[in-house]
């Protein structure tokens, strides 16, 4: 398959987006699954479909139920209520060793007494694969993860990054229908993590396996996933492509959880088909915005806008529908971009991010300067919850 799942955000007709296809048969289906540990509800009446060849990310703060969800897929936990289907069959009664699902553990869980070769061969020796083919398969896995030189080493004789690749090779060796990755890159430093993310995507594409990854790192989820599920308190808050989650968050929680965002609360006015105005402060010019949501006149709503969608300038930009005057309180210089913290007359703090396309010395405004913030009527999102 030539089409990369990562291009799904392009919304082209050829894009990989089985979740939009009503005829597509999901690989995994959670049907009204609830999991309780004593009185604690880890998963709360959750329903979700995951499709073949997807790179599906479960994202959320710790304790949101994402690990429990994954452990139910692996078979280490059973749901208190509901069904989990894999390829249309209920897998709840199937023990972990009989499921066509493999898992890469957060701690890697490499067998310390076995060599890299034997670690990778462990699952194959317990499958119905003929003995003479096991060697070839292990060699193939070693090549895929560039570990050929380390086959005879024990896990404690290789580095953290290599261990991570052994864990991946071992979980992929049996060519599972579904690979589960539990915070797979948590133990790596940032640079190695970035490299490994691309390696993971590469391997996912080469093998065509469905990946479900658990992570609390939103950047990682955005980078690797075809779809991201944001979870909180055992519920799916929003499931969408990375771009969808970022550009069209469905709630203040999601908008706030993914990336930086300005949230302005106010009352709806002049509600027309697809447009409205938001009154957020006495005497301030109302914010003009577009929305698909049904909003009634006077309803309390929130307006969410990303810092990079707001321009900072000495004069208001005529081509943008919204303007607000404010004073620069702080500037965070990050090299390629700068984030300006601007206080509006109403006391509302706004962050705006600008690319540093000019040298620093030639910048027109600095601390304590009065500036104009400008944004278009489509730049932000109206949130009703």
């Amino acid at each position: 398959m030539a089409q990369s799942p990562r291009n799904s955000f392009s919304h082209a007709a050829t894009a990989f987006a089985p979740w939009n296809d009503p005829n597509a048969q999901p690989l995994i289906q959670f049907k009204n699954v609830t999991k309780r540990f004593g009185d604690f509800v880890a998963i709360d009446n959750l329903t979700i479909d995951i499709y073949e060849r997807e790179f599906f990310a479960l994202l959320g703060p710790s304790g949101c139920g994402k690990t429990t969800l994954m452990r139910m897929l692996a078979g280490f936990e059973n749901p208190s209520e509901g069904q989990i289907l894999l390829g249309g069959k209920d897998i709840v009664p199937v023990p972990p060793n009989k499921r066509p699902v493999n898992m890469m553990f957060q701690s890697y869980a490499l067998f310390p007494h076995l060599s890299v070769w034997d670690n990778i061969a462990f699952g194959l020796k317990r499958s119905d694969m003929p003995k003479d083919q096991i060697g070839d398969r292990v060699a193939e896995m070693l090549r895929l993860t560039r570990l050929d030189k380390f086959a005879k080493r024990k896990p404690h004789q290789i580095s953290g990054g290599q261990r991570q690749r052994v864990a991946l090779a071992r979980s992929l060796a049996k060519a599972p229908k579904l690979l589960l990755l539990d915070e797979p890159l948590g133990a790596l430093d940032k640079k190695l993590r970035n490299e490994t993310q691309f390696e993971l995507m590469d391997i996912q594409e080469k093998t065509g396996t469905t990946f479900v990854i658990v992570t609390h790192d939103q950047e990682e989820a955005m980078t690797v996933a075809s779809r991201v599920a944001v979870m909180d308190h055992g519920k799916m808050i929003q499931v969408d492509t990375p771009a969808g989650i970022y550009e069209n968050p469905s709630s203040v929680y999601v908008a706030d959880f993914i990336g930086d965002v300005n949230i302005i609360e106010g009352k709806a006015a002049k509600v027309a088909s697809g447009t409205l105005e938001l009154h957020y402060a006495e005497g301030a010019e109302p914010i003009k915005a577009t929305t698909d949501a049904t909003v009634t006149e006077g309803q309390s709503i929130s307006f969410a806008i990303r810092p990079e969608k707001i321009a900072v300038s000495t004069e208001p930009m005529a081509d943008r529908a919204n303007h607000a005057r404010g004073k620069i309180i702080d500037i965070a210089y990050l090299g390629n971009v700068s984030t300006y913290h601007v206080r509006l007359p109403s006391g509302q703090m706004m962050s705006a991010q600008m690319t540093n396309s000019r040298r620093l010395a030639r910048r027109d405004f600095t601390w304590e300067d009065e500036v104009w913030l400008s944004w278009t009527d489509t730049a932000g999102v109206i949130l009703t919850e």
Partner: protein, 272 residues
């Protein structure tokens, strides 16, 4: 080098003297040429020779070793299984009670344990013998094994077993090919502990033994009641020697493994 204060030197000397002077005296007197234990009559190894020709002692030694081997093996199997269930079994009804009961024999007075086993065996078997001693020793050494093994299991990453299951191993296969190799040092320690405990137990063995199953401690104890003979000194010296060699070689092997591991980790970091 740190210098020791006088106080430290004194307390160290006193402590070690307290521990080892009795044994040193015993070892010295085992090379005594005379028949009287308390009077030095020149160096000689003749009591060792006498010992080797003493059928009674040799038989008792042989019984003791067979009992200790069987006990250690049985206790290790049962103790390891008990530890595994306790640590990995999750929450089941009566778990706290059960884990308390497994370690209870640790603090139970030997006399009571011996007496209760004697009563039980009287009902169960027509005659006491080596088998009853083995069963009795297994009962009280198994809890030591389970304590040693569970402390290792607690620190053993559970996800290794889950990984084995995930890769298609049955629960028994996962235990055999992943858990067991990794807790092996604790299992071996448990075996050695059970072996030593069985080797020198007098009280429980006295209660549960029968004709033809006199263990060495029983033999020594009854011989000493007729007066300490230099032969017993020689025998005890041999036992001290065996135990010392065992302990030293075990710790040397351990030390080498740790050193090897540290070297491996260094090369791993260097090659990364």
């Amino acid at each position: 080098m740190r210098r020791f204060s006088w106080f430290n030197i004194t307390s160290l000397t006193l402590g070690f003297a307290f521990l080892y002077i009795p044994m040193i005296i015993l070892v010295i007197y085992s090379f005594n040429g005379g028949r009287l234990v308390t009077v030095w009559a020149g160096f000689s190894t003749k009591w060792y020779g006498e010992l080797l020709s003493n059928e009674d002692f040799l038989n008792a030694a042989w019984v003791t070793i067979r009992v200790a081997l069987a006990t250690a093996t049985l206790a290790t199997i049962l103790g390891t299984l008990a530890a595994y269930v306790m640590i990995r079994g999750g929450r089941f009804f009566g778990r706290t009670l059960f884990s308390g009961m497994v370690v209870a024999p640790l603090v139970m007075p030997d006399v009571i344990l011996g007496l209760s086993l004697l009563l039980l065996f009287k009902v169960m078997f027509s005659s006491a013998g080596m088998m009853t001693v083995i069963l009795a020793h297994t009962t009280f050494t198994m809890c030591y094994v389970s304590v040693v093994v569970s402390s290792r299991l607690v620190s053993f990453d559970k996800s290794l077993e889950e990984a084995a299951l995930d890769l298609g191993a049955t629960p028994f296969d996962a235990f055999k090919s992943v858990t067991l190799p990794n807790i092996a040092p604790a299992v071996v320690s448990g075996w050695l502990l059970a072996f030593t405990l069985s080797l020198d137990d007098l009280v429980i063995a006295s209660f549960t033994t029968g004709p033809g199953a006199t263990t060495l401690p029983i033999k020594i104890f009854s011989a000493v009641r007729l007066g300490v003979s230099p032969e017993i000194n020689a025998l005890s010296t041999i036992m001290i020697g065996i135990v010392t060699i065992g302990v030293i070689s075990f710790s040397l092997i351990n030390k080498r493994q740790v050193a090897q591991r540290l070297r491996d980790e260094k090369t791993a970091e260097a090659s990364a």
